[in-house]
Chain length 347, copies 3
């Protein structure tokens, strides 16, 4: 695909400084930019590359004033990341998929598949499944009985969805992720043996949820595990039974959320965070990577760090002293010996 | 499915207080209970809901004496969780599976499949595999050469089992879990290049083992990686080569156990725990989530926390001071300056 | 397979002490050695087993001088682990695979499959894929459009590779691992909603890379996520978009590497480590399990521990004091009270 600066400016609603006729064929990073590519400058940290990049076009913010002459054509926009997102959609080829239902897919006769939805090879769709329109179900996906899937949904290869789960419109689920497997629930009997507590609930993904690869979202023991509209989950995340995750909350890779936790909206949770069972996390909470949350967070917009997590700044202060712990103990010992002498002298 | 209080009392061996004819169609949580559902009260923390729930029936313990009048019909049992487990099995529909071998499954002619075992669509079963009776193998499972699988086993969609592994009776393995992939074993040669050490052993799951989704249990380099009877593993767990896990030990999600570790029986291991290679963990050890175990645990029933982990209570005490570290250093500095003055005065 | 000490000595270029005609049929660990097996002594910690093992043959290092008489036949080599690796290759049976393309595989007509490459049942190969010679693609693998795969590559069951990725020669990828799923990139719009930033790059695995099971390597937003030659990745690892991992770097299970991190060559990174985005890690860095790296590591061969990580030895020292924190505070309080008395007396 070839596209000119003028065409791009039109798409992203930007203004051009330079040659409107210059063509590009794909995106690049500013530090790796080559002729015939478009790049962008969003983080001021990278601003020196603006004067050296070989990219043909650079997207920049209207806030940014170049200090030196610039070689590439500039396209000036209000929000660089947003313009970039719109533009990159144009270059996004994806995995090919024929229209309709592939002959090697195994689709139950009672399943309902909407118009313009494609079912790739070797997919299994069990009885009672309903899939909306304009959805893409890639190869080797498994959809259990009575699952309901909305419109414009993408399920990447190998996704497994257990029975009775619900997937909203425009959701994207990446490869080999599992939705609706049994929660980890057991009762110990008199002999100390674990007896399985059947997990009779389901998982509900509302609209516009994206889930990465190899993530697991367990079904509720009763009721639903719910991921609310606009939430984004990265790869290799564990969501236990009966968890609720709020609108527009983003969770980075390898984080684990234990059973019955309720997370608010617009939270930002780093990677490898652990959240203990039955807690509530207020709206707008930010949790630093690798933290462990062991108590309910009541006030909104807290910033937390540590295991167990405390206020972010306080953790950094305490940790700074932790690093100097040998010196601190040394000082204490010295003080003690001075004191011992003083005490002796004062006797 | 509709069932009355009387029928339920019969199933769970309980006694009824209230209307024995009242019908329900499914379970609910006590705080979300609606008419026509059965709920339960096991954790006293939830006891206030007993007086407000709209559920038609509540399972309660014979130890529990209501303080106020109760609207729902009560079914009184010795162990609420156990009664609940029995009851919920009744409501557990699961994913449908036709009897016999699906026509799209690829089953080697030398494989032996027991009576009443179902093989779903698009399953691959390699030569020499033996599967017992009454087992369920869901779609897109892969079973490598000479794997032996017992009776009443359930393999959920996408499970992959490498050659020569052994799965005992009544085991349950959830979607996309991998059993028997190569252990992470390499020898560095003179030039610093890694040379793969072939992993010639296997994985043995004894009876009644349950493994969650997207978990990995690596085959032994020699001999067997063993998960003993009744052990329960959650999602996204890493079990390295030559590990042994004892009877009735439960491990929460995202925990990693390094090579050749031996874990005792009836241990309870939290989520995101890491256990370093070649260690032994005594029977009944409890390990707090996110802890790191870096030395052998000899005495049974220890409770551990931290990275590296120490006694649970001691960790909490030390961490309480860690939180106050700035104040402690402040006090030390103040003491130092008082001392400096005193020393000067005493000269 | 049966093989004699003499044949083994020839294969591993070793010399025999004992009976050259003694036969074995497989490997064993020295503490579990039985008649008819070969074992090895590499770690001096296990040397006492040399005098008690029932194995028929033991591989030992030319550096090792037995202190007591030894019953098994010994084969003396320069590097025990290397000899073992060569030998175990002989005992490594693996999963069977017929030659050619299985009839149930779905292979696009435009795909090019090299000589002596086997495609197992129920594999999906999309248009434009190129696979070299002598490669093995096991059941239920998915290979997206225009993926290029080298010679002597092994893809285990259920691996999913998104479009445009590149896999070098002799790479091994274990079951259910995902290569090339979208990086976790979103731009927030004015209403706080996340808008997906298309991920238009790819993943490049150079030669001799091994990747464990259920690992995820995300495609670059632009350009490539690169795993360089000889790097080894364990199970359940998260590699975010635009990461670069150097030659012969080994990463243990459940480690997560955030976006745009650049890791040098010959690093050794423990399990459950987290590395924050946009950092550089120098060649030869060793990172202890569960550590968190929050700043660039400039000097080579550093050894790090903690979250955030500091020098390994310093962390251990500080942590030793952390464990004694209650005693240290006790001492401080005692000193304070002595001081208070002294100050009073000096008034």
């Amino acid at each position: 695909m070839q596209i000119t600066a003028q065409q791009i400016a039109h798409i992203v609603n930007g203004s051009i400084i330079g040659n409107p006729e210059i063509p590009i064929t794909g995106p690049s990073k500013i530090e790796e930019g080559t002729k015939g590519t478009i790049t962008f400058l969003a983080n001021p940290k990278y601003k020196d590359y603006l004067y050296t990049t070989e990219a043909s076009i650079v997207l920049i913010s209207s806030d940014f004033i170049p200090e030196d002459p610039v070689l590439p054509t500039l396209i000036v926009v209000g929000n660089v990341y947003q313009a970039l997102a719109i533009l990159m959609e144009k270059f996004n080829s994806g995995i090919s998929l024929l229209s309709g239902i592939a002959p090697t897919a195994v689709v139950a006769s009672s399943a309902e598949i909407g118009e313009n939805t494609s079912i790739d090879d070797l997919v299994i769709i069990k009885p009672g499944v309903k899939i909306g329109t304009h959805s893409k179900v890639y190869g080797q996906v498994f959809i259990g009985d009575n699952v309901t899937i909305g419109n414009h949904v993408t399920l990447f290869p190998g996704v497994k969805i257990y029975h009775n789960c619900v997937i909203g419109d425009r959701c994207i689920i990446h490869a080999n992720t599992v939705i609706g497997s049994d929660g980890f629930g057991f009762a110990r009997d008199e002999e100390g043996n674990y007896k399985k507590i059947p997990q009779t609930g389901n998982v509900v993904l509302e609209n516009d949820v994206e889930v990465g690869s190899n993530t697991v979202i367990d079904r509720a023991s009763m009721g639903s595990t719910v991921i609310k509209s606009g939430a984004k989950l990265d790869n290799l995340i564990q969501i236990a039974h009966n968890v609720s995750i709020g609108n527009h909350t983003a969770i980075a890779a390898q984080t684990g959320v234990a059973g019955s936790v309720s997370i608010g909206s617009s939270c930002i949770i780093g990677g490898q965070v652990g959240i203990a069972g039955h807690l509530s996390i207020a709206d707008g909470t930010m949790i630093q990577a690798q933290s462990g949350i062991s108590s309910t967070i009541k006030g909104p917009n807290a910033k937390l760090y540590g295991s167990p997590a405390i206020d972010y700044q306080n953790y950094l202060k305490s940790y700074a002293y932790f690093r100097k712990f040998p010196d601190i103990v040394q000082q204490l010992r010295h003080l003690q010996s001075t004191m011992d002498k003083l005490s002796q002298n004062n006797k």
